[in-house]
Point group: C2
Chain length 370, copies 2
């Protein structure tokens, strides 16, 4: 019986199922008449709540309410209060006249044992076993049953610990999701801050992000890389918040001095972003987004192999969005004209693969800016 | 023996300790000569690695290398390959002449059983038991030992599952910490973005944050509330990025028209921030930070009870920092003059408790701006 119980304990995943299985085994293999497990309310007061049982019960637990602390030497409450097994070898000639006893005798229970279940020094319930034979529960039997109740208590504590662990992991998962949401929202707020003076830039960043992410996917980059490009796209023009509005919205071509100021924006953005330890080289991608593969770009005049793949993708998306949008100094060009422009410069100032992927998106896969 | 093993299994927390305890029990209570557990390399190839043992071994495992797949009907490798217990009831008259057999007989092992350990259908090791008596391991004994090996395998799988759960929880904890770090860095980047045109504002936000957090702590607010005030302080003036630089840095008093533009900054900041679902009312606190308890503030002219406690604290810190700092249109005032100013207006335009806490910090607790 103890072996069967231990095998159930080793495999237990659910507390009430475990307690029920143990009650079943004790009745079926141990040959006892009735077995139940009661859990005690907190602080050792109140009613003992039966949670599992097996054997001949005939509404015993409905007829008998057991409270802690108990009266009339009631053994279940005494096991909880004294923290020791309570054994009654003969119920029929017991001096006390109380419902717990009268109802037990009525049902043919002639001996009983109530074993406390201990969790870290506090009793949280009892295992209660009733026998038809009086005079049983000798020292040897009590020793075995005490071991069994200790194994059961240990098994239940393990289940509790595991359940708490799972709960903690779930809570952490929820916290992570919430934090991730407010992180994304904060990145968005940073992306939109520049739009408070220059609304075009916010829309531009959003559309460039959509196209750059699509090009990255078209080129077979993995989700992590696409995610990095997405964040870089969202933030690539935030440096424009350091450029005076009158330059950003000037309706005529910029002077050389004004263009010099405009050209500071990748560096300004990269300075803001480099303080964030993103798992992608966001500040580097953003710093390079006006570099061109022939070295004609700014601020560093890098050549193709020194420009990050992410940047080469972002640059194509940036240029396509800019050419095809209305600007203060000119109307929007058609998407056909725009694609013609990047095709002409493919392999000269724009990355060949990024341009080809972009053309496939617009021509074969119906990509459109929202 | 099986009962003792199961009790160890119920309480197991460490795999190697569990395997060693099981080997000990089998030798001590089962009375076998030598017991060991070998774990198999992945994909059923390579050397079987002994990880636990008990009983008389005399370097048997050093003298015998066991590989999978094995040769000469070697039972350990066969148990792994066939996934079935391998029993040899007489080693002494076994037809094969191989080291695993010769060395076993030398040590007085006369019978053996090798039981596969199964994890989700794949064999990851064997439990190997040697007896001095030949002819043992009858059907009944094999049944018991098979049950034991199944319990052991189940127990080990549980330990693995729990270890994986713990590892996953630790990894998630690490991810959470990293994400929290980049979230804080992104909030900082948002706070510092305004400083790209107006460096004073970034320093101002930082110093106001330090004082507002200190006032909140002085007032006994809990860590969560202090954290909300800290974030609101970091971001309260980001709306100034929509105010032209020439107004922000104007060396003379502002015209009414210019002041009207300045007064948009709480609303601009709150518009940027309300898209972030912070666990604190950050955008509300920021929107209100120029409200005054007599209703003389802006943008809404709120009265005391309509102004958030966090805002009433932030406002005092904001004013104290502003008065005591150098501004383009006037030099800095001394901290004595500044504290005199807020004392005079205590309960009139500034919250009484926030002012009192601020005075205690500067006068009694040596608070100083960095």
């Amino acid at each position: 019986m103890v072996t069967e119980c231990d095998q159930v304990l080793v495999r237990a995943t659910d507390e009430i199922k475990l307690l029920s299985d143990i009650c079943e085994i004790i009745v079926k293999i141990g040959g006892y008449k009735f077995v139940w497990v009661g859990l005690t309310p907190e602080h050792n007061t109140g009613t003992v709540r039966p949670v599992a049982q097996a054997g001949y019960e005939h509404a015993y637990l409905d007829d008998v309410d057991i409270h802690v602390p108990g009266q009339d030497k009631e053994p279940v409450s005494q096991a909880i209060v004294t923290r020791k097994p309570q054994i009654i070898r003969r119920l029929d000639n017991h001096p006390v006249r109380a419902p717990w006893l009268i109802e037990a005798v009525k049902r043919g229970y002639n001996a009983m044992i109530s074993l406390p279940l201990n969790e870290d020094g506090s009793i949280y319930g009892t295992l209660n076993i009733y026998s038809v034979e009086s005079g049983v529960f000798d020292a040897e039997e009590v020793k075995l049953l005490t071991e069994l109740s200790e194994d059961l208590a240990y098994g239940i504590v393990s289940l509790h610990t595991r359940a708490h662990g799972r709960k903690a992991a779930e809570d952490l998962q929820d916290s992570y999701k919430k934090l991730h949401m407010i992180f994304e929202q904060t990145v968005n707020a940073l992306a939109s801050a520049v739009g408070k003076r220059d609304p075009y830039t916010t829309d531009h960043q959003r559309r460039v992000t959509a196209l750059a992410s699509a090009i990255a996917q078209e080129l077979g980059l993995n989700d992590e890389q696409v995610n990095g490009i997405r964040l870089a796209g969202m933030l690539h023009d935030i440096g424009k918040l350091a450029v005076p509005s009158e330059i950003l919205s000037k309706p005529t071509r910029l002077s050389e001095a004004e263009f010099t100021i405009i050209k500071t924006h990748p560096r300004v953005a990269s300075d803001i972003l480099k303080a964030i330890e993103f798992p992608w080289p966001i500040s580097e991608i953003v710093l390079q987004h006006h570099e061109r593969i022939d070295g004609s770009g700014y601020p560093q005049g890098l050549l193709k192999n020194d420009i990050l793949l992410e940047t080469r993708i972002l640059s194509v998306a940036d240029v396509v969005e800019a050419i095809s949008s209305h600007r203060p100094y000119r109307p929007a060009y058609s998407i056909e004209y725009t694609l013609e422009e990047i095709s002409k410069n493919k392999g000269i100032i724009y990355d060949i693969e990024a341009v080809d992927a972009c053309l496939r998106l617009f021509k074969g896969k119906d990509f459109r800016f929202e």
